[in-house]
């Protein structure tokens, strides 16, 4: 998978045991790739003593996609997410 800025993505809804740096409030949510950062060591693997790198992206989420009717107006939440957390739409 190779993502570009502006691509629409869906985050994983996985709930694995162990270290996992996809925040729960961003799981299974639609977003848009805002920036590409090259490859970074995946923290989840690093926590287990393994060096595995993956492309890292900043993904933008509209607050209404996260909190529905509870969202404040015109808010965007960004997070850095590794490629294996994402599926292109």
């Amino acid at each position: 998978m190779k993502l570009a800025a502006g691509d629409r993505v869906m985050t994983s809804a996985r709930n694995p045991a162990g270290h996992y740096r996809l925040p729960r409030y961003l799981r299974g949510k639609p977003g848009i790739v805002e920036a590409l950062h090259g490859r970074y060591l995946l923290a989840d693997e690093r926590a287990a003593g393994r060096d595995v790198s993956e492309p890292l992206y900043t993904v933008a989420f509209a607050a209404r996609d996260l909190w529905e009717e509870d969202a404040e107006a015109d808010c965007i939440v960004h997070a850095e997410l590794w490629e294996s957390y994402l599926v292109g739409l």
Binding site: H19, R21, L22, L26, A73, C75, E80
Partner: protein, 234 residues
């Protein structure tokens, strides 16, 4: 004292917590410390230091010297210098926004003595307000800005600022208008953010030192506006 084992790794991880100890939905990492009592955390650090010292990996003297050297070069004044220069020099501002690591090197600031940190500046404008957080733990550009305020690490701030950032900012006395887009930056991985606040009104004749005095640590986080202070107007 726990004896270090061959499987010990200096990276952050699940070194001490079994699966059943982990809070549901935790990102692991420093997250657990937030809900752990200070005394328990201190005991854990003491045990870790004792183990590393016993194994000959480090010493109390080396740890103290490293911390002192690190903190001596890290404080919000670094961020304030960057902001003040950016307000005065549009080309520098463009470089800060494009590649903050390279731009701050022009000011003699170097983050490489610590872990490699990719720094990113986000700019407030008349139509955009930015605020930074780390919901999983407490990621923060410590090497540049010094230790974060304790409320930055509080569970209340971390959980609320992604859900109701406008309400949180109102409580900080930093209300943002309905015509301003709110952008929250959750530092979940290897990037560290700081906010480039708006230049306050009435500072047209300020020099760089006076401008830097307008920039607080909270302004660099995005929970305050830059403002003229007694230190900057004198």
């Amino acid at each position: 004292m726990p004896k270090p084992t061959a499987s010990f790794t200096p990276s952050c991880g699940n070194r001490t917590l079994s699966g059943s100890d982990r809070p549901a939905g935790s990102g692991g990492h420093e997250h657990e410390h937030a809900s752990e009592s200070g005394a328990a955390f201190t005991r854990r650090v003491d045990a870790l230091v004792a183990g590393l010292t016993h194994a000959g990996v480090t010493s109390d003297r080396e740890i103290t010297a490293t911390l002192e050297a690190f903190l001596a070069g890290a404080g919000p004044s670094n961020g304030a210098r960057i902001v003040a220069r950016a307000w005065l020099d549009a080309d520098f501002k463009a470089r800060v926004l494009a590649d903050a690591n390279a731009a701050i090197a022009e000011l003699g600031l170097d983050l490489s003595h610590w872990a490699p940190v990719t720094l990113r500046a986000v700019e407030n404008t008349a139509r955009v307000h930015n605020v930074i957080v780390c919901t999983l733990c407490s990621c923060y550009p410590i090497a540049l800005l010094g230790p974060s305020p304790s409320r930055y690490k509080s569970e209340a701030y971390r959980s609320r600022v992604v859900r109701e950032p406008r309400a949180v900012l109102r409580e900080f006395g930093c209300a943002v208008g309905d015509d301003v887009q709110l952008r929250v930056w959750d530092s979940t991985a290897e990037l560290r953010y700081f906010v480039l606040p708006r230049r306050p009104q009435g500072t047209a004749d300020f020099d760089e030192t006076q401008l830097a005095a307008c920039v607080s640590r909270d302004a660099l986080i995005g929970v305050a506006a830059a403002s003229i202070t007694p230190g900057s107007s004198g």
